[in-house]
């Protein structure tokens, strides 16, 4: 796979070039890119930051497998931006500091609150980043024939370069480049697949078009194809309406509470830019997120109909054997199947020894068992080959996946390093630190975090919680950080006691619930055992309400916040009026 190597090298060289160009000179540069990023540029960087290896490689496949059930990810991971734009981003920008714990600690005039916020931010970010790093290792080992660990080291080296040198500034501009790589790699094959299947080059329109040459809509054909093989209807789901509601909501509120997403809106010049930037971010995200369900549906249809009941041909002598079969009037298995078999992403086990590949669902109509296993990622990876695109496009898809993984990892690294150097060192333990010293610690913390993330990636197979990123990261962000930030802006009466109580009452039960059902003794539990029938992915939404209610009750039962804090809240609500307020800004003056 020479083209893969070519693209990986070229894109990596590009990222390093940008890193050298965008070095950070101050903590303001390092944490928030000097508050000087253009809203459209920030929107693009946010989109790259946001879309992880999972969004790029796995989401379309996840939707292909889940059908309507996959909608929770589509709505959840886009709808959160509406909440960010309307409820959080512009106000936090107006607040004028560097991190999410800055807001929690200063708004609630408490280092305890700050430290609890740091713990939430660190846990969420480490869970998330380990998944990205192991994705990088996997990409290298599968597609470049490099050892898994070596792959992670290469990835670490690249991220190290631009995150440690350039901080948020370097990360921002590299993410812009990474967005361009990943969106190109994603949409080009999608356009050709859509053209091939429906005759419409726009995947979003192909999704609602008729199958080319057949007078039947694409989705209807897909429904008939999968139900004919014993799968559930594509446009249906086995989840209850209430559970779908809760998962979607947990993902939305979680998105709005994720520290690495929130800090992106600290990098623009003004509150108005933060609003605009959220809009642009969603435009760039929607480009991929509206194509993904189309890719998922097309690929499910393509893969099912091009593999099912074909005669298996191994990779060793594919060309000759396939030609012989065609001459005999038999349909051979597609070439891409043979190509991807060696990566282990697809596998065939001839259970009934008829030499043909049967794809069957749980309600198999003819009693035959399913013989083909297909990894979710294959739906995106094999797309260019299914569409018969040239080799260079195939290589680009791998580079796109790496771009998605690295850009997300870098964004998370910034949260981790600033949580240590800024929130813990400068704001909690060594309050007299100079800007220069803090910048050195920040670089050191970023370097340490890269190494830690790399090792977490290497050992992630043993750390089972990494696979539960969705449940943990989003659930905890929704239940612990979102409520206190929201109340901190919209309810002046919210005080320190209420905030700490709210964070803890969201964090602890959410963590315990997910741990119990995902990793602990409840792993084998069924939906009947769930609290109110809510799956671990959706529980963050339930405990978000608990946290909100606890926060309000505890606040009302204790002293109102000092006048300085109430003035601060009034300031951040009205753009352009922010000034320094006694205890609220004693530890750090707001940056204009």
């Amino acid at each position: 796979m020479d083209w893969t190597l070519f693209w990986v090298f070229t894109t990596f060289a590009l990222y390093i070039g940008i890193a050298v160009w965008a070095r950070a000179g101050s903590t303001n540069d390092f944490y928030v890119a000097g508050h000087g990023v253009h809203p459209v540029v920030n929107g693009m960087a946010t989109a790259a930051d946001w879309m992880s290896a999972a969004s790029f490689l796995s989401m379309a496949g996840l939707i292909a497998g889940l059908g309507y059930g996959g909608s929770v990810y589509l709505m959840g991971w886009t709808g959160g931006y509406v909440l960010l734009a309307l409820l959080l981003a512009p106000f936090l920008r107006e607040f004028g500091k560097f991190t999410v714990p800055d807001f929690v600690g200063d708004r609630y005039y408490s280092d305890t609150a700050r430290v609890v916020a740091v713990i939430c931010a660190l846990f969420v970010s480490f869970t998330y980043i380990a998944g990205q790093m192991s994705g990088v290792g996997l990409a290298f080992s599968r597609f470049l024939g490099v050892d898994f660990n070596t792959g992670i080291f290469v990835g670490m080296g690249i991220v190290f370069f631009y995150a440690v040198l350039g901080g948020m500034k370097g990360v921002t501009y590299t993410q812009v480049a990474q967005y361009c790589v990943l969106i190109f790699a994603y949409t080009v094959p999608a356009i050709f697949i859509s053209l091939m299947l429906t005759g419409n080059p726009v995947p979003q329109l192909g999704f609602i078009s008729e199958v080319k040459g057949e007078g039947i809509s694409m989705l209807q054909k897909l429904n008939e194809t999968v139900t004919g093989l014993g799968f559930a209807e594509y446009t249906s789901t086995n989840k209850t309406v209430f559970d779908v509601f809760c998962i979607t909501a947990a993902l939305m509120f979680g998105t709005a509470g994720l520290p690495h997403v929130i800090v992106r809106f600290f990098t623009v010049p003004r509150a108005a830019d933060a609003r605009l930037s959220a809009g642009w971010a969603l435009v760039f995200i929607a480009l991929l997120y509206t194509v993904a369900p189309a890719v998922g549906a097309f690929a499910r249809l393509n893969v099912t109909s091009s593999v099912n009941e074909t005669t298996y041909v191994p990779a060793a002598s594919y060309e000759a054997d396939a030609a012989t079969l065609i001459a005999q009037g038999t349909v051979p298995s597609p070439a891409w199947f043979a190509n991807w078999e060696k990566t282990g992403l697809v596998a065939f086990d001839d259970l009934n020894n008829d030499g043909r590949m049967q794809i069957r669902g749980p309600a198999s109509p003819d009693g035959l068992s399913n013989e083909v296993t297909i990894n979710n990622d294959i739906y995106v990876l094999a797309n260019p080959e299914i569409a018969k695109l040239p080799d260079w496009v195939i290589g680009l898809v791998v580079a796109g996946g790496l771009a998605a993984a690295l850009s997300t990892a870098a964004g998370l690294l910034m949260v981790i390093s600033s949580a240590i150097s800024h929130d813990l060192c400068r704001r909690t333990f060594f309050k007299g630190m100079t800007d220069k010293a803090e910048l050195r610690v920040a670089r050191g913390a970023a370097a340490g975090a890269v190494v830690a993330a790399g090792f977490m990636g290497i050992y992630s197979a043993k750390l089972a919680f990494v696979a539960q990123v969705v449940a943990f990261a989003f659930g905890l962000a929704a239940a612990s950080l979102f409520p206190v930030i929201l109340l901190g802006i919209f309810w002046k009466r919210m005080n320190r006691e209420g905030a700490i109580a709210a964070m803890l009452s969201g964090l602890i039960p959410t963590f315990a619930y997910i741990w119990h059902f995902k990793l602990g003794t409840g792993k084998a539990a069924t939906a009947a055992d769930w609290f109110l029938g809510v799956s671990p992915e959706g529980i963050g939404f339930v405990f978000m309400f608990v946290a909100l209610i606890v926060g309000i009750i505890v606040s009302l039962a204790t002293k109102p916040p000092p006048q300085d804090i109430q003035d601060l809240v009034e300031d951040i609500r009205v753009p352009g009026t922010r000034s320094s307020h006694g205890i609220a800004d004693a530890g750090m003056k707001p940056v204009a």
């Binding site: 709808g79 509406v82 309307l86 999704f207 209807q220 446009t235 809009g279 003035d567 009205v574 009026t577």
Partner: protein, 88 residues
């Protein structure tokens, strides 16, 4: 209090912002949780290009509305800021 120039009525501005925000959140809820989840079965009786409408809202339509919502919000906020003399 901050050194606000007297002509800015921060309270009235904030009330207007809250009204706008609540209105837009109602739309946000209606297209995703409403059309895509709660009313889905009912909407699926209709179709858009062969796709059941509720399903389409859940996988496509809601996202388009989200994008439009944020840009409308930016526009409406700029208008409010001008009206109240907020610097923005």
């Amino acid at each position: 209090m901050a050194e606000q120039p007297p002509e800015i009525d921060g309270k009235a501005y904030w009330r207007a912002v809250l009204r706008l925000t609540l209105g837009l959140l109602a739309v946000w809820f209606a297209v995703s949780f409403g059309a895509g989840i709660l009313l889905r079965d009912w909407l699926d009786g209709l179709s858009i290009g062969g796709a059941p409408l509720g399903f389409w809202f859940a996988q496509q339509g809601s996202i388009y509305v989200f994008v439009a919502l944020i840009f409308y919000y930016c526009f409406a906020m700029r208008r409010l800021e001008r009206k109240f003399g907020v610097k923005g």
